[in-house]
Symmetry: C2
Subunit: 417 residues, 2 copies
């Protein structure tokens, strides 16, 4: 049997999995490489961080997801570099030769060079951070019960979230609900007027990528839950006592969650002109590196311009990119041309807690309970695997009816692996 063309896919996120699926019936051998053995449903990560979902509800083993694709091999390894000239991917485990390469390596938290912020705050991009945050928040409450010094106690009980994009809004809303409805039953010694959630945003409104009306609705909804919102202030520094804003004002806190920015992360050794804003890789209309048409870059890692704007870092962009790449590679094998990539915007949404979400589907803007049900429906639709869907739905229903956040275990650094 002749050796089939080898496609290496870097990253088992939304983009990488969509590309894998797209290549299922194509005559190629596929190797998908990821440092984790699981696909992570990142949009729900904040629910793990706020104690609503178990890690396994939003993470599925990659091998299980690709079980029915006989041409796919899974490699759990860190990709450390790409040799474009030799067409090789270098990983921590082995070196892979490729005929086609799909870079779907996603993004990481961007602290914009603020080293203090990086060291003293937590991002919300992977399971480790989400579980760390869960323990950190509950640990603060435990320590607060033992702290007589009122200032120290208030610092422990103030939770600051930097960045009011969807992640910052969703996480601060979830934490505010946890504090309002669940924790008072467990921490009777704590005076809950000392507890607060502060959301800090450099821009002049929350959810800047949504229509202004939806942003205002989200803002009001968060305020009703008790979230203090500081707009138009950026973070100058973070120290042991908390945050210093550019106005000089301080927010005294022991917990800083950083959702203010993300930047692409790829194993490609590119600099300068090859990169766009947020270190995303510039690509051709066919999602290729212009110098290497056998290399595709999709999702957060790619800067794809459409209608004068670069596509946002969202799961649907990555998924559509992955599907496109599957078709493009199939076409190339038959020496056919493929049309340029085109992203179909199916709308964006964000939830602001129990029974409230905002959704924007083209000209249609939806909010409140209807928005929330749409949000649940869409997220369940995308959640990988039936078990995860059922588990997540169960947890949501539980939370909705009992105002509970069931997963509140503090497990130390070496635990719960």
């Amino acid at each position: 049997m002749a050796k089939l063309p080898h496609v290496v896919i870097v990253g088992a996120g939304f983009g990488g999995l969509a590309a894998t699926r797209g290549l299922r019936r194509v005559d190629v051998d596929v190797t998908i490489v990821d440092r984790n053995n699981y696909h992570l449903f990142q949009p729900l990560l904040y629910q793990v961080a706020s104690g609503l979902l178990d890690p396994s509800a939003i993470a599925s083993p990659v091998r299980t997801i690709v079980r029915r694709s006989p041409n796919v091999d899974v490699l759990r390894a860190e990709v450390t570099g790409v040799d474009l000239a030799q067409r090789r991917v270098i990983t921590s485990a082995e070196t892979l030769d490729y005929d086609y390469l799909v870079i779907a390596s996603g993004s990481e938290t961007d602290y914009f060079g603020n080293e203090d912020a990086r060291q003293r705050s937590t991002g919300l991009k992977d399971l480790s951070e989400a579980l760390g945050l869960r323990s950190q928040l509950l640990g603060c409450f435990e320590r607060a019960t033992l702290t007589a010094d009122a200032d120290a106690r208030r610092r422990l009980l103030t939770f600051a979230v930097v960045g009011a994009g969807p992640t910052g809004v969703e996480y601060s809303g979830a934490v505010a609900e946890l504090i309002k409805h669940v924790l008072p039953k467990d921490y009777r010694r704590i005076d809950f007027t000392e507890v607060s959630v502060v959301l800090i945003e450099a821009g002049d409104r929350v959810l800047a990528t949504f229509a202004p009306r939806l942003g205002r609705l989200a803002e009001r909804s968060l305020q009703r839950k008790g979230v203090r919102i500081i707009l138009g202030r950026s973070v100058r520094g973070v120290d042991d006592q908390g945050i210093v804003l550019d106005s000089g004002e301080r927010v005294e806190t022991s917990t800083v969650v950083w959702t203010a920015g993300v930047r692409a992360t790829t194993p490609l050794d590119l600099e300068g002109d090859a990169l766009a804003r947020s270190r995303r890789v510039k690509v051709t209309p066919e999602l290729n590196l212009s110098s290497h048409p056998e290399v595709f870059v999709i999702g957060d890692a790619a800067a794809f311009e459409q209608a004068g704007a670069v596509l946002p870092m969202l799961a649907p962009v990555a998924i559509q990119g992955g599907k496109y790449v599957g078709k493009a590679i199939a076409a190339r094998l038959k020496a056919q041309e493929s049309p340029p990539f085109h992203y179909h915007d199916k709308g964006t949404m964000a939830t602001v807690g129990r029974g409230a979400a905002v959704a924007q589907i083209g000209p249609i803007h939806i909010d409140g309970l209807v928005g929330w049900f749409i949000w649940i429906f869409v997220h369940l639709l995308y959640l990988v695997g039936f078990r995860n869907r059922a588990l997540a739905l169960w947890s949501w229903a539980w939370n909705y009816f009992f105002w509970d956040r069931p997963v509140r275990l503090i497990i130390s650094a070496s635990d719960d692996r």
Copy 2:
């Protein structure tokens, strides 16, 4: 208001929680101290280790469990010592004065002084070990897919369990099922004839505390699942290549799970005559230290003799001890005598995989599917909290009908806290 007598309970296991519950309507202030913020349902720990259950299905926050006991305070801290003369408990957080002290601090893995074994094997006593084992086992399969050397690969794919008590039997059965029914679908590159589970027992039969017939049934059931059972051999040493038995025979393996022994662990500074076998604390018929009637010791930590034998380290012993202590303290406050503690044996059971368990209830011996349903019923009965019960039942049903082990995430040491 006069200050109420203060009862300090060390440990939020079965015994500590039962004592707390027993004191709910007694005029005392209770502080329950545990290093973790959760109660762990230890009998199901092996199911977390084998990827069937999520940690949160067998762990519940202590604060949530005691919510409805207004006289109970929870302290998450390590108990570092007890000053019996001054009636003080010293913890990593604060020092607690007590009028009554309940030591329910449980047990830890006993390597019988075998330092090699301690360093190179994993116990199965806490969440951290169970999750570590889950990652270790899956990590071995990942590495095996990349290993060309047949000896190294077979070592990675051999899983050794030392000790054929209930934990060793249950865990090896669960791993054998995982290997037989689930992993072949995920690891298609692996030759499963190279995979094996080895159960090593120094005694001459498995489940030595059960009737011989039930032990034989369990043995045969494990063998049918492919577990290799080595009886009458103890472990002389553990090195990088695996286990050396006292016969000189080697078991080449990268994974050693140690369930061969447990010993009591208490913050009491006792030695010599005060301790019985397995470092359990000798107690009076009223579960007290003879020198300090205000100090109770219960569960695994205590050596209580009844009908010529010391009670086993089992959850029901701890639970009945805790209930007794609650009543004994109430009686003392009214200057009444309490009758000596008496343990009612309600039977023991062990599961040996999907649809098979052995149960021994006095003279009645049950096995097979009926045993398994009794096992499920009893465990659900004891599982703390409705959500946990429902989640565990869901997972079991899933496993039963789909032969699946849903939780198969490899999360590194610093993750999944």
